[in-house]
Amino acid sequence: MTHLDISQVSIEFPTPKGSFKALDGVNLKIEKGEFVSLIGHSGCGKSTVLNIVAGLYDATEGGVLLDGKEVRGPGPERAVVFQNHSLLPWLTSYENVELAVKQVFKGKKSKKEMHDWIMHNLELVHMTHAADKRPSEISGGMKQRVGIARALAMEPSVLLMDEPFGALDALTRAHLQDSLMEIQKDLNNTVIMITHDVDEAVLLSDRIVMMTNGPAATVGEILKVDLERPRDRLALADDPKYVDYRAQVLTFLYEKQRKVEPINKASHTTKDDKLASNG
């Protein structure tokens, strides 16, 4: 049975000028332990798909099945790593993870077990040294690590990542991608990740889902990335298969789905962008 089944999902947002159809008939089946990237131009509704799976938005048509059960509302079994970390600024790294652990494992783990579990997850992202630091005291990359630890600590069936490294500089991003691959090797989570970055998509994913431009965006092509794991970014740089995958994604984005942004219709574009950043 399919682990996660996104079936015929469409969504319309009400706007003052009538309803706006952001997604139209999105279909995607994801197996357990699969790492899937969603890529597309900004405004194509990638985040909207993720938010529907997370339960933060309700699809107008169609729905999402997780292990055969329909998704209703948000929940910790579909943990989200948000783009801008979204840690609570008044809690330390430890307390941020603790909030999630206490909520998910209330009555299932003893105090000691909870503490060990929190530390274990901070260990996974190499953040034990800053357990007692507040988000304002650590760097952007470290905040995102804690955000990942918090999501992992919920032991989610699906891990949803909304451009998790989008706000980071290139070096930090590479570090975090390596960390994520390492974690993924051990835990083998089911992951849906949204990204703008072609290299990131090819490096991390088992499959890359390329989305067409909105409005009424949908799945364009799906690319299976058949590269041996563990993957090494340096070795792959010259690998002909890697280069080919990369070229395929780029062709889709810049030839088949070239984003034409007419200057005189700027207001229309901003509306799309706004909707995209909302979801």
Binding site: A54, G55, L56, G73, P74, G75, P76, R78, A79, V80, F82, N84, S86, L88, P89, W90, L91, L99, A100, Q103, V104, R134, S136, M154
Partner: protein
């Protein structure tokens, strides 16, 4: 080398001097200029109670008030001494005698009145906080409740304490009937008037702070499926804390201003009554004494605001935040 050290040192000194100039010397100049203008201006104003008091006259009145206070305190302690002695004597003569203890009933001094004002304002402000923060959180969380209560809030917010006072007085008189009252009616009237007038900034700022929580943090709460109470305690309150304190500081400022007016009319034995009594008294020293009270009111208001600022620093999670 030593020249370099010397220049670094002298630079350090310059910085220190600049700091002293700005933070010690300039305020001093400001105060001196103010006192001068006050003195010159006061000399030119004649009232039916004599000249308007300048700084010197006010200082004399201040000394007078301190002396009054000391005199009253020594009278009080000697009263209790005499009473104790008298009771001891009577018990010695007649072992069955149960000694009577009488309270000293001298008039309150200026400093007693300051104390009365302080606890009245804190009681009123405390009650306002107890109402405004929970209500503000509810309003901020629920836009329906906000829409329902907003017109009421907007209408009551600008009402002057003087308008409330007669109503509060009548209601207190009618409802607080007791043979052995724990609080005097004048205290309750002043306190409730303060509460009615000062709760609005806390209420509104709390509501705005709660409504302005980042959407991402709300999403975190949703994904975690936090219960309503955990959501409020862990996310809503810390997030709205800075706005709450802004409201509380404004409220305490208003409370202190309102209190003086309320005390004048309710005859609560605080600073407001002091000013009113001196005004009615109309002696040659009255204006000077009122001026002492004015300065004292200002100074205490300033201290209250500082105290609130320290509380904000203590409770705020963001210690880097610049507060002024």
């Amino acid at each position: 080398m030593s020249a370099l050290v010397q220049s670094i040192r002298s630079f350090g000194m310059q910085k220190l001097e600049a700091f002293q100039l700005k933070n010690l010397f300039m305020p001093l100049i400001g105060i001196v200029v103010f006192l001068f203008v006050w003195q010159v201006g006061a000399d030119r104003i004649d009232t039916s109670l004599g000249k308007f008091p300048g700084p010197v006259a006010v200082y004399e009145q201040w000394q007078g008030l301190v002396a009054d206070h000391q005199r009253e305190r020594s009278k009080e302690s000697s009263f209790y001494e005499r009473q104790e002695k008298r009771n001891a004597d009577r018990v010695a003569k007649d072992p069955n005698y149960v000694p009577k203890i009488r309270e000293y009933t001298g008039k309150p001094t200026f400093f007693d009145q300051i104390f009365t004002s302080l606890y009245t304002v804190l009681a009123g402000f405390g009650l306002a906080t107890l109402i405004a923060i929970p209500l503000g959180i509810v309003i901020g969380l629920n836009s329906m409740v906000y829409s329902a209560l907003n017109p009421v809030i907007q209408i009551f917010k600008p009402v002057s304490p003087l308008a409330w006072l007669p109503l509060v007085t009548m209601v207190v008189s009618a409802t607080y009937v007791s043979n052995d009252p724990m609080f005097s009616k004048s205290f309750l009237t002043s306190m409730f008037t303060v509460t009615m007038c000062c709760m609005w900034p806390t209420l509104i700022n709390t509501a705005v702070g709660v409504a302005a929580i980042e959407k991402d943090l709300l999403n975190v709460s949703k994904v975690l499926r936090l219960s309503w109470l955990t959501h409020v305690v862990k996310i809503v309150i810390p997030s709205a804390m800075p706005m709450m304190f802004t409201g509380l500081r404004l409220s305490l400022g208003i409370a202190w201003m309102v209190l003086i007016a309320a005390e004048m009319l309710a005859q609560n034995p605080g600073l407001g009554k002091f000013v009113w009594d001196e005004f009615q008294n109309g002696s040659s020293s009255s204006l000077g004494r009122i001026m002492v009270a004015v300065l004292m009111i200002g100074f205490i208001g300033f201290l209250l605001d500082r105290a609130m600022l320290f509380a904000q620093r203590y409770f705020s999670w963001d210690k880097t935040q610049v507060l002024r």
